[in-house]
Symmetry: C2
Subunit: 264 residues, 2 copies
């Protein structure tokens, strides 16, 4: 009676969809006419319309069979379950919207507000962008690892920004970043400041806190590799500073440690 195109037109679907329903056994394959065309009749149209009615209500095709054959109770139960699934999907998408709205509102990717505030303040103090980027990446790592302690860390860091030594350090770093090639005396000054900060930290116990915050050494090594990703120029400068610090009896930048006199 009807070709596949006519059948599809009756139900307002594509021929591809009809063939798909045949493929998954949802609509029985009809007889073929002499030339091999599928030949449909009224009941096929009716079944196809029923299928579409369910599909357009969000019923997965895999459950349409079952629903078409179900009695009233089974139907109601299945419908209730499908509605539950729909509600869940809507909730998920709304959660997506919430997150993307936060991103649009200026939240830096993958960092809590306390951290972005800290980074903004660093920038305001003249810290070169490349250093801020490194800090950000490091804090992304830390925030992913210890999300519940990140605010505590940031409070610490913010107060450090009030330390005149830290200010001096940032200023020196800014000068070095701005210059073509860093002068040796600038690097030496940085090393001096860093060592002075380390000594102060050793006295007030901050060095022990850093051990507690970086429990396994592998995580500290991981943070090091972030620092090493800043490009060859920065790595050279960094290496030189480490060298100068070593001459002054200290090692490490991520995790500062006094060099054992026996080694020296």
């Amino acid at each position: 009676m009807l070709t596949i195109g006519q059948l599809a037109a009756y139900a307002g679907v594509t021929t591809r969809a009809v063939r798909h329903y045949h493929h998954i056994g949802l609509l029985p394959e009809p007889e073929r006419d002499v030339s091999g065309y599928r030949s449909y009749a009224g009941p096929d149209v009716v079944r196809l319309i029923r299928i579409r009615t369910l599909a357009e209500a969000g019923v997965p095709l895999a459950r349409v069979q079952e629903l078409l054959a179900a009695d009233d109770d089974a139907f109601a139960a299945a419908v209730a379950e499908i509605d539950r699934r729909l509600r869940e999907e809507i909730k998920e998408l709304q959660e997506h919207r919430r997150r993307i709205a936060k991103l649009a509102a200026g939240d830096s990717l993958a960092l809590p507000p306390s951290a972005t505030a800290y980074l903004d303040r660093m920038r305001a103090l003249g810290t070169p962008e490349v250093m801020v980027d490194l800090e950000r990446d490091a804090w992304i790592l830390i925030a992913a690892q210890m999300p519940e302690r990140i605010d505590e860390f940031m409070a610490d860091k913010e107060s450090q920004l009030d330390d005149p030594l830290m200010r001096q350090f940032l200023r020196l770093i800014g000068e070095i970043a701005a210059a073509e090639e860093p002068r040796e005396d600038q690097l030496a000054q940085v090393a001096d400041v860093l060592v002075e900060m380390a000594e102060a930290a050793a006295v007030n116990g901050a060095l022990d806190q850093q051990d507690e915050a970086l429990p396994d050494s592998s995580f500290a090594e991981l943070l090091e590799t972030v620092a090493l990703s800043a490009g060859p120029r920065m790595v050279r400068i960094r290496d030189r500073i480490l060298q100068l610090m070593a001459e002054r009896g200290w090692s490490g930048l991520v995790k500062m440690e006094r060099i054992d006199r026996a080694d020296a």
Copy 2:
């Protein structure tokens, strides 16, 4: 530094996901160690975390690259567009919920309330279930074809149910359906009633209306094939009734027509 499993753990994803990101070029393939294992460092972890942050906000992976590289304006524009898409998807799902709620509320599949009311009334008048099923299927077809006229048709049909002839017809059909084998006198009575109804319809012009409602004959034929799907017993009874009607000068059940005297 890190194996793929460790990298994945840092970002809270599966190794499969990481390999997928490599495959689609979202995360660069890292160096391999001597045994061919992928070896990751800090920047890889950071990038993976950024990817996840966007993905979990509903950004399609295909757009994550672009967003990670975008400046603030481009980022805002892309985010706005993604939010628009999310809103659309939510609306679609809500539409699904509306439809499925209607189905749960007892709406027969693919039929408007006027039609289900008519079918219910038919059933209440003792019409056998198999007949009601055929009517329903026929009206599903018609409703799909002419949705805007279905209420008008149903009003007509409802008023026909008040016709004593129609009542008699339904009672006779009920008796026939209940019996093992229909008696010839029952079938003759049905034919008599149908012919009487047809004659009345011819007088008040209802026959012309039916021509208008069934514009092309192919649609009428399609409706016939629905009637033929009721099983061999019903088809035999139907054929016999058509035969008896023909003896009385009428043809057709879906679309009744007086037989041309020249043919008889």
